[in-house]
Symmetry: C2
Subunit: 322 residues, 2 copies
């Protein structure tokens, strides 16, 4: 952490105001240098009150997902978070980091994306400062065929993290769109570089609409997309939700690596909005229609066709019928 | 093609010597310019005889896989061949080309690799000017789970191309090592960049030991590796074999995309050296021992365990037992 981030962390965890003298001592610098850093932090949106004879107190942190804001909330081992005020795509940045050797659990977060990407070449609408856009480097010792399961694990983690917010009942639409009230609140983009026998790395891109207002969505998305704010009427603490999501993902991913997808399946199914519905699935192999019977142990979607036979769908796009 | 490559192509296909005047006319340049190009070609290893009153005749082309040498042999649609006298790894070069948008069928060939790569992070010994080192950009509309089948298709193509050389009886060791007399003559490295639903590109790396002498192999490889020269006692025309391999691959890959792995399976099995043998397979899921029963329709290796149950192996390393 930088000296400024350390000041924020100390002020945040101190039960009482901290004097300039104390901060100078901890940082090993002059009181004048502390004063200068406090000035910079105020310029960055931190409200820091100077209380006479007591010292500095943190009255408000800016609504941002930078290290100083996120760090106090993090509970897991994934702590290498690279924060960007703006980028083209966190997925692109994380991929470059992975190619350069970044370890598992490296996280890239941006406040805004100018070219945010979704599945199948689609764009991901990424307005500034209201949502979560992150990409995570994973290095599972798995063959490429098991990577769709990692994507399902991520969907379950996103749903679980959102379900902790009062009033939010997330649902997953296979494979890993997360919906509230039938509208998309989050998406997962799973990309890999691999050889046949093993994955080199997986980049898990997660976008969650948190505090986006209706006007933050372009007109064509307003009927299909939502945010936690729109669904509940309340803004969430983005840093707290982000940390919760990372912890939820790290925990489930760890269990999945240990015990396979089976250990995550029942939680995943508890969020599924498709079981029992009539759907049409467009996949690389063509189109299949049927009723969703459930999820196989390996994460494939099981459909019962009109003639009673069963189809297994490993990858595809689901449309509800009727 | 460059003017020099065009001169070579004309001389090669002409039934009789071509005059300097004729070449100048075809190129739209002076006879002096033709003479200069002929001089450069001789410097590059072409033996071009100047026959009095008749013109130039091509007596020998250098042993090289450059466009001028390869082009006359090519029969398929894959003709964008990037030739390099030396590179670190054709796989690396092809991947960069693919990331920059190179279309399916783009081929990278090098005379020597300073950091040739094999499967699972191994090196591929790549001495200069005697073998084939190539990487091919593919863009199949498939999910990642189907890519192991592309690797099997490549193995069958390599075996078929080698089988056309008199005295060579290639065998495939699952998944796609190609052996002659139990020693490795060729290997396939299959890498991909993909999302869960679809492959962005596959880079198929193929190394074939053609005219390498025993001394061209490091001592630790001499018992395990061979070349066509070592197996038959005869040098092959590297350009002809390379073109045959590309044509064999393009044809089988096209049939595979149309009809699935099933259409390539029986040919693949005709080359397999494992069917009926007792093996041990090390895969990301652990170790399995059993007798090889055959190949599933999706390319998975089917093993019969000692207890009579069947194991399906999608990716792994096979060791013969006993």
């Amino acid at each position: 952490m930088t000296p400024r981030e350390r000041i924020v962390a100390w002020l945040r965890t101190a039960g009482a105001p901290l004097s300039g003298e104390e901060l100078a001592r901890r940082l090993g610098c002059s009181r004048a240098a502390v004063w200068k850093q406090i000035g910079v932090l105020r310029g960055l949106g931190y409200r820091i009150e100077a209380r006479r004879a007591l010292g500095y107190a943190l009255a408000r942190v800016p609504d941002r997902l930078g290290p100083a804001e996120l760090e106090p909330h993090l509970t897991g081992r994934w702590r290498d978070v690279r924060w960007l005020a703006e980028t083209d795509s966190t997925q692109r940045v994380a991929r470059e980091l992975a190619r350069a050797g970044a370890p598992e659990g490296t996280v890239v977060i941006a406040e805004a994306q100018t070219a945010g990407r979704g599945r199948l070449g689609r764009t991901w609408h990424s307005p500034r400062g209201v949502n979560l856009y992150c990409s995570i480097v994973l290095r599972p010792a798995l063959p490429p065929a098991a990577v769709p399961q990692v994507a399902l694990v991520a969907g379950a983690a996103v749903a679980a993290a959102l379900a902790a917010t009062p009033g939010v009942e997330p649902r997953i639409k296979w494979p890993n769109d997360v919906l509230i009230d039938g509208r998309k609140v989050a998406g997962v983009l799973t990309e890999m570089e691999a050889e046949v026998e093993r994955v080199h790395h997986v980049i898990l891109g997660i976008g969650v609409n948190l505090n986006a207002s209706r006007s933050a969505f372009p007109p064509e998305l307003r009927e299909r997309a939502t945010s936690v704010l729109l669904a509940t009427g309340h803004r969430v603490d983005r840093a707290a939700v982000t940390a919760r999501l990372l912890a939820a993902l790290e925990a489930r991913y760890g269990r999945f690596l240990e015990g396979g997808f089976e250990v995550v399946r029942s939680e995943w199914e508890s969020y599924s909005c498709l079981t029992g519905t009539e759907v049409r699935v467009t996949s690389p192999d063509g189109e299949v229609a049927g009723r969703v019977a459930g999820l196989d142990a390996d994460g494939a979607l099981r459909l019962t066709r009109p003639d009673g036979t069963t189809a297994r769908i490993v990858a595809g796009e689901v449309t509800l019928r009727g």
